[in-house]
Subunit: 213 residues, 2 copies
């Protein structure tokens, strides 16, 4: 087979790949819309097809199950989380990074596509082993990236050496998820307007004790 003959085949493959990627994005966007509106259990594959304007046959070629769809959504969250942690790592100090990240988490939900879906995904992951297995590597990556930042902050004297960083890492993850949950549940609390105060409280928690206590 000549090189000339191969060219159109490659073009066709690239076009097919573009089409497949676009179809995947369309289905995932439709699924997120459905899950936020009706919950994971309230969203049948039929509803997701209707939302995406696609036949069940077409949809099942891309995602054989709701679990695989959630898996793809969780995978998309990896990029969101990495961007949040980039902000934390790129800040001049941990304190400044923390303030910026808190502001992002509590106000700029447009930057964090899955914030609105987080509680639903987490509640489902507690009893759904497949989803938990899909979510865990992303959770682990978040903890790994945060841990690196915590080590740097401790080396820079911003975190009390007496604190166990593993426990602190877990607690910070729990605080982030708890705040995002209550931000959705209680928009009237204006957690966004309180984000500076909240990050200040977390700084108090981690700063070296003046007396070494």
């Amino acid at each position: 087979m000549s090189e000339v003959a191969e060219e159109p085949a490659r073009d066709s493959t690239a076009a097919q790949q573009d089409h497949r990627a676009e179809q995947r994005r369309r289905i995932i966007a439709a699924a997120i819309t459905c899950f936020i509106r009706d919950g994971f259990h309230g969203s049948s594959m039929q509803k997701i097809c209707a939302e995406a304007g696609m036949s069940p046959g077409a949809l099942y070629r891309y995602f054989p199950s709701k679990e695989s769809l959630i898996g793809a959504i969780v995978e998309g969250e990896r990029a969101d989380r990495a961007r949040v942690l980039d902000v934390l790592q790129g800040a001049p100090t941990f304190a400044e990074g923390l303030a910026e990240v808190m502001e992002m988490l509590l106000s700029d939900t447009s930057q964090i596509a899955c914030a609105a879906l987080g509680p639903e995904v987490m509640a489902e992951a507690i009893r759904n082993e497949k989803l938990r297995d899909a979510l865990e590597p992303v959770e682990q990556e978040t903890r790994d990236l945060l841990m690196r930042t915590l080590h740097t902050a401790r080396a820079n004297g911003e975190i009390d050496p007496a604190l166990d960083l593993d426990t602190l890492n877990m607690l910070l993850n729990a605080i982030g998820d708890g705040l995002m949950l209550h931000n959705l549940l209680h928009p009237e609390w204006d957690l966004s307007g309180r984000s500076g105060e909240i990050s200040g409280m977390i700084r108090r928690m981690i700063r070296p004790a003046p007396d070494g206590a």
Copy 2:
């Protein structure tokens, strides 16, 4: 009508009330089992009937909808939460109460019937207005009771007067819910074994700064 004639009627009413209360307890227990196993949306009234060993007609006489069932479960949580806050208020110091409550929340789940159902209920409440309306008075009561304890702790010099107690109250609620979520999602983290360290970190957050900073 003589008093003698009234006695059997009263007895009968009391027996009927006992029977009704027992039936309600049975249905609520069945619903909790179903919701934990299959989620709110995955639990049909039929499944709950089967779990309770009851006909749909009998069940609907007690609870006309899944929302009313969740409402009853949330109402039951009020007693659990009040008990947790009793521990906090009854402790000699806020620090000791906090340590005890953290231990209860992260290990003694048997004392907090709805801990396992919390993330499911909260995720559902975000999009389900009826459920949110049922949950909110219980959430408000929790915040009111906690606020009283925070005022006492501040008066006793355990909380820095510079901290805004409203924001602290919200943050402590978010921390509690975030920790219970991750305790269910990551039993391997052994948050129960870390509860002392976690309550220590929260104490650092609230204690008066030695330099008044």
